[in-house]
Structure formats: structure tokens, C-alpha cells
């Protein structure tokens, strides 16, 4: 039972890959002039899913996949044009197939109505375009390759380049072929993978049943293969059967091709010498030629060799590397205390260990890294559905699909991105009429891009819509009491209002975006990943949401600071600059309020010790160090700490696992001396303390 479950799980895993390939293939088919191979790949994907599903008795899936496959077969055999009318149905079928697979995986009930509708549509196509149903495999497929007689000329290609056009293959298996367990169908399938194929069965010589002898099957196939592959590739398919069949391969274009090399049932290749026939040598049989490849070539287009490893193992490895980094830090500390840090040998040794630890860490991170493609591909469907629901025409352009991020991040990005995409379709893009008036193409474009940028991953969702209607946003925020009327807000601050909980700018809540979650949830989710969201909007030109994410959730570059006798870590990427408190740049505001003038801005000074309750009285500024930090809402503040003493990579350890969340602290880490240091969350610190300052509403806005 357990075994079966395991196999089934494998099948579903494979399905995911196949579905992904299917979706990609269908998108390629949208483009004019797509490769014929794409159609084949799409067909194969559906076919494989169907096959697997049948093995597990998933009849819903099989029925649907079969019908889907039938239509794809029409496409593949050029009986049906991949025209505008058909492709949307194909896309939706692919979505539906994915749903059915998901339903089967969770043993839940799929959406029957939707499936029925699609089945009906598929049936219509089938009915309109041909005979489709049963004998899928051996229906002679009409291929436009001009006259087919062996010596004949093909219309376009210059004769002579025999390998460029194709072959005519006569294939008549002997009884031995069947006896040895070979299947002509498998061979023909293998041939079909080389290119366009037309198979004709010649059963004329087959004797009537009463006279038929199994020694003389007499079935004969005539195959027209249009391929770019070399003759050797074709021969390779028959490599294991060439001595038990009648095989003739004639090149099409160049009719003068000499008669085949693996021709008449030539019982023996003449290679074996007659010298010692009597000897009971181990080579009495005509040894089949060496096996450079398996008889039917494995599915083409397989990516490089991969293994499936459970995430647990990778995580364990990652944990151990975390320990290694810590131990390395401990070692260097010990060496320092021992006064050996000057010894060049020790320094060199330590350096190389550090380097190695870094390399290992990077490699493991690379194992965990996955291309964002997995997320981006889903977004095509989201756009499609959102476009259907709103009646807008939308095109999704993805850039940088190959950008890799940590696997956990890939999974946790799906929800926020889905929401942002829906949001862009629903709120960002104007309706067709408005777009026409503005002189834009009716079809809106949403661009989803990803790139690595200075140690972070930048993901952008941009639309070419109308931009944020700021007066409107402001009006709504005031109406809802999110911001006091009359407060001066910069355009950037108004944009930030979108991230406030409970904000929804559409007057009528649409079925699409109005699901009770707003952009505030998106922002929270991104922040949980250690990232930030920014908006950039230009009136009538569009809006861009950018998400900046750390590369990994496991390691962080930190500044080690001293605070009330404790060591803490400040994430380096939020630190802008550090300085000694100089009275000339300090200003008091009222009682206790202290400001720092820095680059033309006045920044509040936050005493970190007080925030954490480590001291009761604010420390005198002169003795401390000021660290200017910036939060993702471009808010800046200066944190007062006791001192800075190092900068290094720290391994992030969860506090929540055994304790819970601590306000102002994002996680913990282990230092070189084995002690724990808390990692400060500057974002939360600045936000919580700006609550005490002038504009509570804005703090909320920044807070999300």
C-alpha cells in the first residue's frame, strides 16, 4: 500500500513537470511559426499524463486527457490550425487538466461543471475536424511532403542532401522479431520521434486465418519519415532487430542512395572470423552490435540528469553548514585569544577554511535555489482567468524566469504575486474603451520580471495601465478614516496608503480582487520573507510594484553591535551609515525627543536600549554610536547603540520555534563564542517608535 502511494506520489510529481511543459508548449504555440516539435511535446505531455492516470485508475483524469489528446492530435497532424479560436480552449484545457491532477492528488472533487463545458468544447472541435477517436497511433497522418515515390523529387529541397529530407522505410519483421519480444509498434513510435512520420500497413500478404502460420507473420509496414536526422539515427532504431526483419531504408530526396546497409535478412555480419569455429568459444552467436543506446531512444528533450532529493536532507545539510560557519567563527576567536592570530600559517589556514565554508554554503544554497519560472508560469493562468473575469484583454510578458531564489521563497511568493497580478489586471489596467481613448493598444500588457541585483532578487510587476489615481486614493483613505483630512501627503505617501489594511480602491468590490485580502497582506507576506515592496506609478502610463527579496532565508550579512552588555546583530542591508554623535548635528524636540540632521533630513533618534527595555533612561548621546537605518517605506531613523565591533555573516536561527516572536527582533543567531545574539529588525523598531511621533496614520500606512 505504502509502495503504491509512493509510486502515485512520483506520478503526481511527474505530472507537475509535464503540466509545466504543457503550459510552456501551448504558449509557444500561440506564436506564429512555432516549431512542429513543440506540438509533439505538448501532445506527449498530455499522453503521458493520461497513461499514468490510467495506471492509477483515475478515470476523470483519463477521460479528459484523452479528449484533450485527441484534439492535440488533430493539431499535430495539421488537420486543425492552431488558430486564435482553438488556442484559448487549449489553454483552458491545460488549466483544467492541472486542476484535475491536483484534485486527484488530494482525492478531492474536481470542478465538474467546468470540466463538462470544456469537454463539450473539445468534442465540438473533434466533431468539426475529423475522425479523431480511436486508432490514434496508426492512422496514416497526412503530411505535406510532396510526391512520395522513392525515386521521386521533392518539391523544395535540393536533392542530394539526403539527410535533410527523410527516408522511406520498408519494414517486414520476421517471426523471430516477435519471438524475441520486440514490438513493431515501439519501433514505429521511436521512428515517430525522429520527425514527421506516415505509416502504412501492408497486410496483403498476410494469409487468411486458417492458413496463417506464426512462422510467417507477413505483416509489412511502409514508413515515410520526414526528418533532419542522419541515416544512422534511423538505423539505430532498428539496431537490435535488423537481423530478424526485412528492412530497407531509402533516402527520400537523393534517390540515388545506395541500397541500405543493414539490408536483406543477412543472417550474419561477416565480422566473425572462421578461424576457430570448433572451439566452444563464448561467441557462438552473432553478437549483436554493441549497445550505444537503448532500442527506442528515450524521450527526446530531457533536461540534464537530475535526482529527486527530499527537502529534509537539504535542510539538514544547510543546518550543518550553519554550524560549520559558527564553528569557524569560534575557531578564529580562540586563535585570537591564544594570541596566534599573527602566525601566517594559522591565518592562511583559517582563511582557506573560511573560503571553503563559504563555497559549501553557496553550493547548498544553489541546491535549494529554484528558478522563479515555477511561479511565473502559474501567473499566466492567473492573468488568463483574471482577464476572463474582467473582460479585459491582457498579455503577460515574463522576463528573467531563470532567476533563482530559495525554494521556500518560491513557494511563499505564489500567493503575494497572484494577488498583485490580479490587482494589476483588475485595478491597474483600464478597460478597452479608455485605453483606446488614450491611444494605447486595447490589449493591456503586464510585465513580470525578475533579476538579481546586488545580493538581492528584484521582482517587478508592472502594468501599462492608468497609474494610481492619487486624489481618489486619498479620498477613500479619508473616507475610511485611515488618514486625517487635510494632512499634507507626498505622492509617495499616498501610494503607501494602498498598503493599509482595509483599503480597497474599487468602488464595487469585484469578484476578483475583493476577497478580503488587500495589498497589506501582500506586503506582510513579503516582509515575512525579509523583503520589501515598493510602488512606482506614473499617471496614465502605468504602475510598477517592485519586490526586493534576500537571496536566502538562512544567512544574513550582519553588523555586530554592543548594547547594554549584550551583543546584537543589525542586518547590514538596512544600515545606511554610522556616525559618532556630534552635538552640531543633534537637535532636541520638546521633552526627550531627539533629532539628527543628516543629509538635509531630520531623523528621529531611537535609543535601542530603551526600545528593548534594557535600560530605563535614554543613554547620553555622546557616548553612543548612531546608526542610520532605512526602512522599505523610505523612512529613515537613527538608532542609538553602545558600539559596533564587527561585521560578519550570521546564520539565522528561528526564535519562534521554541519561544515566540519578540517585538523588534526578527530572529537569533549564534556567535563565535557559542552565545546567542538577537537579530534586530530595524523595520519594526522604526515603525513601533514612529507610532509615538507625529503621524500615527502614516505609521500605520508604513506598517502595513
Amino acid at each position: 500500500m505504502a509502495d503504491m502511494d509512493e509510486i502515485q506520489e512520483m506520478f503526481f510529481d511527474e505530472c507537475d513537470e509535464l503540466l509545466e511543459g504543457l503550459a510552456t508548449g501551448l504558449r509557444q504555440m500561440d506564436e506564429p511559426g512555432h516549431d512542429k516539435e513543440t506540438v509533439h511535446a505538448v501532445f506527449r505531455a498530455v499522453h503521458s499524463i493520461k497513461g499514468g492516470a490510467a495506471a492509477f485508475g483515475l478515470s476523470d483524469l483519463v477521460t479528459f486527457a484523452h479528449r484533450f489528446e485527441t484534439v492535440l492530435d488533430l493539431l499535430r497532424s495539421d488537420k486543425l490550425e492552431a488558430a486564435a479560436g482553438v488556442m484559448p480552449i487549449m489553454h483552458r484545457s491545460s488549466d483544467c487538466l492541472a486542476d484535475l491532477v491536483a484534485a486527484a492528488r488530494q482525492s478531492s472533487e474536481p470542478d465538474h461543471d467546468r470540466r463538462e463545458t470544456l469537454l463539450a468544447e473539445l468534442d465540438q472541435i473533434i466533431a468539426a475536424n475529423g475522425d479523431g477517436e480511436d486508432d490514434l497511433v496508426f492512422t496514416p497522418l497526412a503530411i505535406d511532403i510532396g510526391p512520395v515515390d522513392p525515386g521521386g523529387h521533392l518539391a523544395e529541397p535540393d536533392a542530394g542532401t539526403a539527410s535533410g529530407t527523410g527516408f522511406r522505410i520498408h519494414f517486414m519483421p520476421d517471426a523471430d522479431l516477435y519471438r524475441s519480444g520486440n514490438d513493431p509498434a515501439a519501433l514505429l513510435h521511436a521512428l515517430a520521434k525522429l520527425g514527421e512520420i506516415e505509416v502504412m500497413l501492408d497486410a496483403e500478404m498476410v494469409a487468411p486465418l486458417e492458413d496463417w502460420s506464426e512462422d510467417q507473420p507477413q505483416l509489412k509496414w511502409d514508413v515515410l519519415l520526414q526528418t533532419d536526422e542522419a541515416r544512422e539515427e534511423v538505423e539505430a532504431i532498428f539496431e537490435f532487430v535488423e537481423d530478424c526483419c526485412d528492412l530497407r531504408i531509402v533516402a527520400l530526396g537523393g534517390g540515388q542512395e545506395p541500397p541500405p546497409s543493414g539490408p536483406e535478412p543477412d543472417p550474419l555480419p561477416p565480422a566473425i572470423e572462421d578461424s576457430s569455429p570448433a572451439e566452444a568459444s563464448p561467441v557462438p552467436e552473432p553478437a549483436p552490435p554493441p549497445r550505444p543506446r537503448a532500442a527506442p531512444p528515450a524521450e527526446s528533450g530531457q533536461p540534464g540528469a537530475t535526482i529527486r532529493v527530499s527537502l529534509d536532507r537539504v535542510d539538514r545539510l544547510m543546518n550543518m553548514i550553519g554550524e560549520l560557519v559558527i564553528k569557524e567563527a569560534m575557531l578564529s576567536q580562540v586563535i585570537q585569544t591564544a594570541g596566534m592570530s599573527e602566525d601566517p600559517d594559522v591565518v592562511a589556514g583559517l582563511d582557506s577554511i573560511r573560503q571553503l565554508a563559504g563555497d559549501i554554503q553557496e553550493s547548498v544554497m544553489a541546491i535549494r535555489a529554484q528558478p522563479l519560472k515555477l511561479v511565473f508560469q502559474r501567473m499566466h493562468r492567473i492573468v488568463r482567468e483574471a482577464a476572463d473575469a474582467t473582460g479585459k484583454q491582457v498579455r503577460l510578458v515574463t522576463i528573467g524566469e531563470q532567476t533563482e531564489v530559495d525554494k521556500t521563497m518560491v513557494e511563499r511568493l505564489i500567493d503575494p504575486l497572484t494577488h498583485m497580478i490580479r490587482n494589476s489586471v483588475d485595478h491597474g489596467l483600464e478597460d478597452a474603451e479608455t485605453r483606446r481613448e488614450r491611444g494605447k493598444p486595447e490589449e493591456g500588457t503586464i510585465t513580470l520580471s525578475a533579476a538579481h541585483r546586488s545580493g538581492r532578487v528584484q521582482i517587478e510587476v508592472s502594468d501599462d495601465g492608468g497609474g494610481i489615481n492619487r486624489p481618489k486614493v486619498r479620498e477613500i483613505a479619508e473616507e475610511k478614516g485611515l488618514v486625517a483630512p487635510g494632512v499634507a501627503l507626498s505622492p509617495g505617501e499616498i501610494d503607501q496608503l494602498l498598503f493599509m489594511p482595509g483599503f480597497s480602491s474599487k468602488e464595487e468590490v469585484s469578484a476578483l480582487s475583493g476577497r478580503g485580502v488587500g495589498l497589506d497582506v501582500v506586503r506582510r507576506e513579503i516582509m515575512d520573507l525579509g523583503g520589501r515592496v515598493m510602488i512606482h506609478s506614473v499617471e496614465a502610463e502605468g504602475t510598477t510594484f517592485s519586490i526586493a527579496l534576500p537571496l536566502t532565508l538562512a544567512v544574513l550579512e550582519g553588523m555586530l553591535i554592543q548594547l547594554c552588555g549584550q551583543t546584537m546583530v543589525l542586518p547590514i542591508n538596512s544600515v545606511q551609515e554610522t556616525m559618532r554623535a556630534n552635538p552640531s548635528i543633534l537637535h532636541g524636540v520638546g521633552q526627550g525627543g531627539r533629532l539628527l540632521s543628516n543629509r538635509g533630513d531630520l531623523l528621529p533618534i531611537i535609543d535601542l536600549g530603551c526600545v528593548f527595555g534594557l535600560r530605563d533612561e535614554a543613554a547620553p548621546l555622546e557616548e553612543g554610536v548612531l546608526v542610520v537605518v532605512e526602512t522599505d517605506s523610505q523612512k529613515r531613523a537613527a538608532l542609538l547603540i553602545d558600539g559596533i565591533f564587527d561585521q560578519r555573516q550570521v546564520v539565522i536561527k528561528s526564535l519562534e520555534e521554541n519561544y515566540g516572536q519578540v517585538p523588534g527582533v526578527s530572529a537569533a543567531t549564534i556567535l563565535g563564542d557559542g552565545k546567542i545574539a538577537l537579530i534586530v529588525d530595524p523595520e519594526a523598531i522604526v515603525m513601533s517608535s514612529s507610532n509615538d511621533y507625529a503621524r500615527p496614520a502614516m505609521a500605520l500606512a508604513a506598517n502595513g
Binding site: E656, N658, V665
Partner: protein, 156 residues
């Protein structure tokens, strides 16, 4: 937790006994992972007064609870001689700071008594039972679930 208990020991269980402010306490041995000497903790901001901080236990972050403070005896000034009992409760690891671990005792369930009604001593809510011995000693059995700080900020 006590799967290892053999069938003939039904009605009996092992407990780890420890001292706290001159009183004897115990917890189920199945909950205890290890016993360590005290090592300085990292203070957690905004933590309840009975949370001493966190220590590094072979790479994981473990909260140390000052049992004495938790039970209302007043905060412990930990020294080298204090012990931290590492216990596992509902998947969370926690360290319990105690004066010293005295014994591992097998107790008969029938010797377990309910806690008598003694007003509202804070210690009472954390004790699930009293185990009496013939020599007059009493072990107070601690309810770990009541004792531990509840996880904050449900996001975890």
C-alpha cells in the same frame, strides 16, 4: 512519552526530582532531554520576568525559564552550581532553571494526591499533584504545559 515503560510497571512512573527554594519538585522523566550546568543566557527583550533568556543548545535556540520566579519564590541569581533541565514539551524545547537535581525516583500512581486547597498560591496552578513518601518527604509534580510562556505573535 512513556512508551518505553514495561508492562509490569503499570501504575508506576519515573520522575526527575529537583530542589527549588528548599522544596522538592519533580517532572516526568519522559519530558526531560538532558540536564546541563548553568551558562549565561542572552536576555530577550519584552520577555516575561520568569524568562531568563535564551541559550544555544547545539545550534538551536532554547528559552530558559526561571522556575523559582515562575512559581513565585523570587528570581534566582544563577551561579555555576545551578542546573538547567532541558525538557521537550509539544515539540518545543525549553530549559528549566533549578537549584539542583536530587534524584530519579520511581513513584506509585496511588501515592499521588491532588493538591489540597490552599488559597491562591501562584505555585498551586503549576502543580498537578503531590507525591508522598513514607519518610515524610513530599514531591510536587509540575505541569509543564501551564508553566511555559505561551508562544507570542501567532505568526510562528
Amino acid at each position: 512519552m512513556l512508551q518505553s515503560m514495561s508492562p509490569n510497571s503499570v501504575g508506576k512512573s519515573d520522575v526527575v526530582a529537583f530542589k527549588l527554594a528548599e522544596q522538592d519538585f519533580c517532572i516526568d522523566i519522559g519530558l526531560v532531554r538532558e540536564i546541563r550546568g548553568w551558562s549565561p543566557t542572552t536576555v530577550l527583550p519584552h520577555a516575561p520576568h520568569y524568562v531568563k533568556g535564551v541559550i544555544n543548545l547545539r545550534g538551536s535556540v532554547v528559552t530558559v525559564v526561571d522556575l523559582s520566579a515562575r512559581l513565585g519564590f523570587g528570581a534566582t541569581e544563577p551561579s555555576q552550581r545551578h542546573v538547567v533541565i532541558i525538557a521537550m514539551h509539544e515539540g518545543r524545547i525549553v530549559g528549566l532553571l533549578a537549584d539542583l537535581v536530587s534524584d530519579i525516583v520511581t513513584v506509585n500512581d496511588e501515592h499521588m494526591q491532588a493538591v489540597p486547597d490552599i488559597a491562591s498560591d501562584p505555585a498551586r496552578e503549576f502543580i498537578i499533584g503531590m507525591i508522598t513518601f513514607e519518610d515524610g518527604r513530599i514531591l510536587r509534580k509540575i505541569d509543564l504545559a501551564q508553566l511555559l510562556p505561551t508562544p507570542q505573535g501567532g505568526a510562528a
